[in-house]
Amino acid sequence: MTEKTLEHILEQHEEMAVTVEPNWIRIAAPASRLPELASQLAPEWAFAGIVPENDPKTQSLRLLYVFYARNGPWVGIEVRNHDQSIPTISNILFAADWQEREMEDLFDVQFEGHPQLGDFVLHDSHWPEGTAPMKRHSWEIRQKTTESRNLSTPRIVEASGSFVMPIGPIFSGTQEAIQFGLETVGEEIVFAHIRPFYKYRAVEKLLEGQTPSVALLIAERIDGLTAFSHSLAMAQAFETLAGAPVPPRVRLLRVFWAEIERIRSHMQVLAGILESTGLSVPANLIQALEEDLLQLSGALTGHRYLFGLVRPGGLSRDWSDTEIENIVDRLGTILEPSQRILDALTFDNSFLDRLEAVGTLSLESASTHCLVGPVARASGINRDLRVWQPYQAYDQITFDVPVQAEGDGYARFRQLCQEIVQSYRIVQQIPPLLPAALSQTEDFGITQAGTALGYAESPAGAVICCVSANSRGMVERCRVITPGLVNWHAFPQSVRHFAFQDFPIILATFGLSVADLDR
């Protein structure tokens, strides 16, 4: 169905050059036609993000607006910049709002009609406007030295007695650094502002000039708790560039560990939700089970967070059949008590009162933000790259993608619980499918320059990674679109009109990582 729509759209724009590659359609569009194309694609395609790349002919910067759909090819709209401004599409696709602000800050691309550009990734008190560190392949980046930093967030509420409640960048417990400004006249949050990028480490800049092997080490440190999915997404991009098929055993084992990571990450979010509602007994019990999973990963892969496991073209080690079966058994014994705890919670009124109809994100709001992951699925969007664009061995496996309708805190809680059940179901299917172990090939090389896309459904949502490499196999440019970048955008929307005491609970139900957003 999506392909028919695409044909129909392309018929209307016959003058545009269309390049068809395997699983990938590129449309070269003049900047002025971009909003029209975007609004035609928007109903059926999900907007992934904006990827900057070098035009192979002129070496000038061009932007690629990436869209994806269920079972359809990926669609990229190529827009040349030529140092002119590009019309904003954030009024059509609100999801593009943050992406455009990011492009403006890092590449100095101007978006005509965008209401709020500047002071986003690079805080104005540290870097002058127009620094554009990613525009050139240069490491000389000017930094401001004198000027006190500005910790205030914007104000838009003008009611009498209104004030801003500042939160962060350092706040409770072991929370990550991010800043919120909650505008209020008393009890209710009237408007919420979010100021991210305190932790900006310039990962995408750092990736330039790296070998695939080191690039994966950097990718997994974008977000340590979903490291495996991040490096898997990037490894797939490298493998496409190298044209090297991945052995079937590796593909299955990658699915195996990706699902174990999903279970562990969901368990951590669930513990956070329980802690935020003040139920410390179940929170501690779930946290102890998370520790069991960390130990399981540590004992069998050499790293508790699965760092260093994905290598270009393979995995850093292999396991015997008995080891794999033992892991599945152990998972069963860890998940059995967790299921009992989570089931008991659905009968706990004091718990339900805090989650039900709290932090509601409507289907409409979730769609305009193009949300991904469990947050999107809890608001009724059935979007999952494992099903939409099966990668690795997901096409050999049967599983369901649970979806909730309500979009409130309780829906997000149930979503996580049900996804854990499905992940265990996936893990159980893998041992009988595994072909006999092969001696792993370690020689992996990219010999041809090019651009490739890699993607994975991380526990928090779609990680989409676009790598341009040169003929020596080094990364020229890399863009990582993380679930954090997409989902944090909708968070201020969900806390509006709820009370202050709900704020930490809503934050916990989103289960978002700041490191994933800041990169």
Binding site: I170, G173, Y198, A202, N284, L285, E291, L294, G298, H303
Partner: protein, 239 residues
């Protein structure tokens, strides 16, 4: 009330020195100094942690990110690997006796990927139960004895970190956690990173690792408290 009873029904999960010695996966281990002729070459290390020195391939733990590239299958010679978790290093010359009984800890994230923070968070779980050792997390730097800093200090977090340090009452200690906090690790060359923690505030205890496992963190806290038992899970040890 209901949950309290359910909690009591559960088996005791807290690790003891005895049970921790039988478990695997508590610590990822790290490369150990290896005689040069059997060691991996210096250039396999992406963070330049391997340095040859008098016939021994030494490991600079402030740089090592435990990526295990120095043990990859294609290498003829591999680095030795050591288990264990006594990783905490005192970096100030001496620590005055001040925190024998308990310490209050404030954690500051200065650009962490989330793994170090989660290992710190894991300390509060019943498995490690740091409270029984007299250690507690506190929300405000003004009530803290120890400032734990994770992550390579980013440019945007530098002043916030300085302020947090200055608002702490004396005597105070700073514990830098994780390879990023000690040297910048894999992020050291980034333009958005202001440098390791000791370039911003004085560091007393350094705990290498990417991330350091909870037992290594406990080892560091026990070192601050003046008692460093064979196993950091040992009950209160008087000096």
């Amino acid at each position: 009330m209901l949950w309290f009873r359910k909690g009591l029904d559960q088996p005791v999960r807290t690790l003891t020195p005895k049970t921790s010695s039988t478990l695997h996966g508590l610590s990822p281990g790290r490369p150990a100094p290896t005689p040069s002729r059997d060691a991996a070459p210096e250039d396999v290390c992406p963070t330049h942690a391997l340095k040859e020195h008098d016939g021994v391939m030494d490991v600079d733990y402030t740089q090592c990110i435990q990526c295990r590239l120095c043990r990859q299958q294609s290498l003829k010679n591999k680095m030795n690997w050591e288990e264990g978790f006594h990783w905490a290093q005192m970096t100030s010359t001496s620590l005055p006796d001040a925190f024998h009984h308990s310490v209050h800890v404030r954690v500051v994230d200065a650009g962490d990927c989330g793994a170090c923070l989660n290992e710190l968070h894991q300390l509060a779980s019943p498995v490690y139960s740091l409270h029984r050792l007299g250690i507690a997390f506190t929300p405000a730097p003004r009530e803290a004895d120890v400032l734990v800093v994770t992550g390579p200090v980013t440019v945007s977090m530098k002043e916030t970190l300085e302020e947090a340090f200055q608002s702490m009452p004396t005597p105070k200690r700073v514990m830098a956690v994780g390879t990023c906090a000690l040297s910048g690790g894999i992020f050291s060359s980034s333009f958005a990173v202001a440098g390791p923690v000791d370039r911003v505030i004085p560091v007393d205890i350094a705990i290498p690792g990417c991330p350091p496992p909870p037992l290594a963190l406990l080892d560091g806290f026990r070192l601050i408290m003046g008692a460093r038992p064979e196993n950091p899970l040992d009950g209160r040890v008087r000096k």
